[in-house]
Amino acid sequence: MYSFEPNEEQKMLIDAVSRYAENDLRAAAEEAEELAKFPDGLVEKGWEMGVLQASIPEEYGGFGEYSSVTGALAAEELAYGDLPGALAVMTPNLFVLPILLAGSEEQKEKFIPPVIEMEWKAYTAALIEPSFDFDATDLKTTAVADGDDFVISGKKTYVPYAADAEMMIVYANVDGVTQGFIVPAGAEGLSISEEQNKLMSMHALPQYDVNFENVRVPAANRLEGDFEAVIAASRVALAALAIGVAKASLDYAIDYAKERDVFGVKVAQKQAIAFMMAEMAMEIEATRMLTWEAAWMLDTEKEDAYKSAYLASISAIDMVMMVTDRGVQILGGHGYIREHPVERWMRNGRGFATFTGLAIV
């Protein structure tokens, strides 16, 4: 059957997440961006809602079942509040979900339970590389087998919470195939930079450059499962986050355009503006449909699920840029100044073209 309505459990989750997103994330977003720091307790509070815990089976310490659809619904709500805040709350997902999706039974039992305790702890993953032609399926970081170990070398960037992380997954090229390796903090050859603030947005999300110089990890730390499954889940998550950012911008633009007078009517009553908003709404819905379908295909292990996730993510890249650009445009000069959040969302929006692997739900 076709059905386009979240189930009761999902509705309750959306409800709880959206309250946090609005009352906490959104409320803190502007200052967090200016100060490049989240207020104390903000991320922890988001974590305590238990979105990730609810998607981990009991045998690994959770109390639910993994669902990409549910994850996408939650991600949209979180990003509607604030994208960097959403990514901060979801950072431990970067460690847990790849293990769940591509790890062995032993790895799941060993590595997942300590992370998903009710207290937020930094666990992260390093995928993106500082290169103009970065491609997650063709990495420059390498892992070479040596006896019972693998030796990892390469440079990673934009690794959230790397300095605090107790462990991280690093993705490396193993004979042309991308694979994840679990690396503990303090491993020999692992060096983490000072906190970087290089991106044009998301200043509050702590990010680091991470270098791997002949870092040796046991073969038992290699995630031997399908990296494609991990990247597909990440693509769905990013698409869902993009939808949240775009919707924030549209809603703000609508409120503004319905308030502001121009030539004796409201701005929103001008077709030139109304049509822009209609198109924003349509493109958001188009990407949302692709994202939901891709998530459902992943959950039900459909053929072509990875391709659908890819298409959803590509769709999201264009959609979020178009929508957030127009959000600024509808506010005109006011959209360009930092008193209104639309310029921040536009900066957030451009990031989706490069965020590959920075989120997973």
């Binding site: 076709y2 386009f4 189930n7 491609d135 109304a274 049509f275």
Partner: protein
Amino acid sequence: MTIEFEIPKPIAQQQYVLQTVADNMMRPHSRYFDENEHEIPWDYITFMHQAMKASGAGSLAPKDEKKKADPNKPKRPPIGYQMLAHMLEIISWGDAGMYLVTPGGGLGAAAVQSAGNDEQKKKFLARFMGDKPTFAAMCMTEAGSGSDTSTIRSTAILDEETQEWVLNGEKIFVTAGDKALTEYEQAGKGFIVVWATIDPEAGRAGMRSFVIEAGTPGVKVEKFEHKLGIRASDTVTIVMQDCRVPFENILGKPTVEKTTKGFKGAMATFDATRPLVAAIGIGVARSAVEFVKEKLTEEGVEIRYGVARNRLTAIERDVIDMEIMLRSSWLMVLKAVWMADNRKSNALESSMSKVKAGDIGTKITQKAVEMMGPLGYSREFLLEKWFRDSKITDIYEGTGQINRLVVARNLLGYRGSQLR
């Protein structure tokens, strides 16, 4: 409820049959009926009538009342509109022009279905299950009245003595108007549904629709249009000169009230039909996407799905964008018809799906012709025809612009008077 995208079983079963029809009864004749405009594809029409009659599929005729639902059987969610959307998409993948001459009542019957009373439904809709293929058409547009239907000038005046409505006026761009009104030997007796005012002073509040049966004196087909595409489908002008129809042929209330409820009710028909019209456009667009992918494969061009976007070639980007447009627009149609089936208000989703389908159909087929170079432009292939056929999706059943207005009003919570 939950979120899922599994095609319902009854629809999946139907798909196979429809694909056979599209492959064998439509595609091989596509070019012929494009080049011989106004010839009627009776073979296709007769076949479709028999097939639909046998399966009961796609018919808007009221269900046989004797067949009471078995109370012991679990109640299945309704999928009627979802079934129709799938059916239209596949058949239009075959040929959109030929689809538009599929018998079964089309928009005319849809109007009776949504605005008529039980008696009218029985009287006017039963004919579609008869021995011969039968047509109905919707007459809305006038020379001076397109998207702004409140400016309709056709009149219907009640003759108090005979209790008949007397209709006068001229309707243009009537799809299948000829087959609905002209009595062909191969076809049953059809009808048209005409929009007219019963009180020219009342504006939209005076607007009603009337059924005029084939053979009624005072109504005739006057002109056949020559079109850019969908040439297998007749688009005609219909003139009414003191055309008298029985009192009971009015759909909706015969009196003018201060509200525009009747008009709005009729506009609600479009909430149901817009996603279906979108589905037709999507079928055409899919033809083009599949053609392009097939030709690229023949030329040894591979599309590397999954590669970072900044590493894709221009051709790969184009194909991927086409697939994104096609799929997202189809899912928007499915959501709109799913809402219609589940009796959820879908004015926003319905218009969104129509705008999107008009946009993507135009973009996809234009791009496809460009990508295929000189051969894309050639009449040797059907691609150039799909390019011409697809443009109509952005125009009929409300242009992309009027539907944007509907979307914007719904989005902003504005009435027509607030956003003109």
